[in-house]
Symmetry: C2
Subunit: 185 residues, 2 copies
């Protein structure tokens, strides 16, 4: 036990673990592995900009405030989805269920076509030219950007929720990313 | 299927679901429930400020950049942990394993004592008066704040990783929060 004002304790050793010990900030490979130790729900960020849909599988999002309902998504600043969200100012976030691995796969990776990304994905939208949202998602959120912050390689888009709902039954389970693989509860 | 440039599609109806339909941004209760549909890994944010340890269970954190390793944690701006992290400029993030529910419980809620929060939690620190980190966590990160952004009720602390490691074996499973309950994979 560490008492609150006690003497410092040296770091324990777990020599059997490949990630045991201490890495410095230049060990980016270690960081990839260590940050992958966090289990994350899988979602889809989406938008419609200049008449085209853009969407990408994401795990780096969060609710930052309940009142007013406010969310954040972190997108690679150089990605097509970041550019489209930046230009549109409106975006969607759909939380995928465990049965939607194929959606997550289709909207991942850099080899996707720029046009027609959602052609094979069941979507709905609340209004003409509105943001596409994924049918069957545990929850969907429609947002309007209120701030963008740059953080190293990524852009943090902060949005106020303008509409939200669910399109899945209450027994639906979430799709989860853990250690670079999809899994479920 | 929704074609990329196709006509708008009206929202499907899932009338059997209590969260079916569309909620507006003033429905904060619906937002709590809908954002709880995201599965999240459970962590502990911690710091040491003016000779005292502060720590809080968190689920709203993410890695925002691999190179340089950069992370973000979202903390209620009025919370004690936010004040301490703001003052210290250095903080830790420990990713809890599924066997650490008691740690998550001890560091949750507003009824905790201001002093001695970590007295019953096994911790280590890398240097005297360094940030306390949770022994047994899947991964731990030590960070230095490089930016703070306010977002509605919360403060987004962005930190560069100064050291990191793991103190759990490779078979260790993560602790997960889903629909306001702890669970595991």
């Amino acid at each position: 036990m560490q008492s609150d004002r006690g003497t410092p304790r040296s770091e324990p050793e777990w020599s059997e673990h490949p990630l045991a010990g201490t890495f410095t900030q230049t060990d980016t490979d270690a960081f990839r592995q260590l940050s992958g130790q966090s289990a994350k729900g899988v979602g889809v960020a989406s938008t419609r900009h200049r008449g085209y849909d853009s969407a990408a599988t994401v795990t780096d999002y969060l609710a930052v405030s309940f009142d007013p309902p406010t969310m954040l998504v972190s997108l690679d600043s150089l990605s097509q989805i970041a550019e489209a969200v930046q230009g549109s100012g409106r975006w969607g976030l759909s939380l995928l269920s465990s049965s939607q691995i194929s959606v997550a796969d289709q909207l991942s990776g850099s080899g996707r076509p720029l046009i027609g990304q959602l052609a094979q994905v069941p979507t709905f939208r609340r209004e003409e030219n509105g943001v596409p949202l994924i049918i069957g998602s545990l929850a969907w959120f429609e947002l309007r950007t209120i701030a963008v912050h740059e953080a190293a390689t990524h852009s943090l888009f902060i949005g106020e929720v303008t509409a939200m709902g669910s399109s899945a039954g209450p027994a639906t389970r979430p799709l989860i990313r853990f250690r670079s693989a999809y899994t479920r509860l």
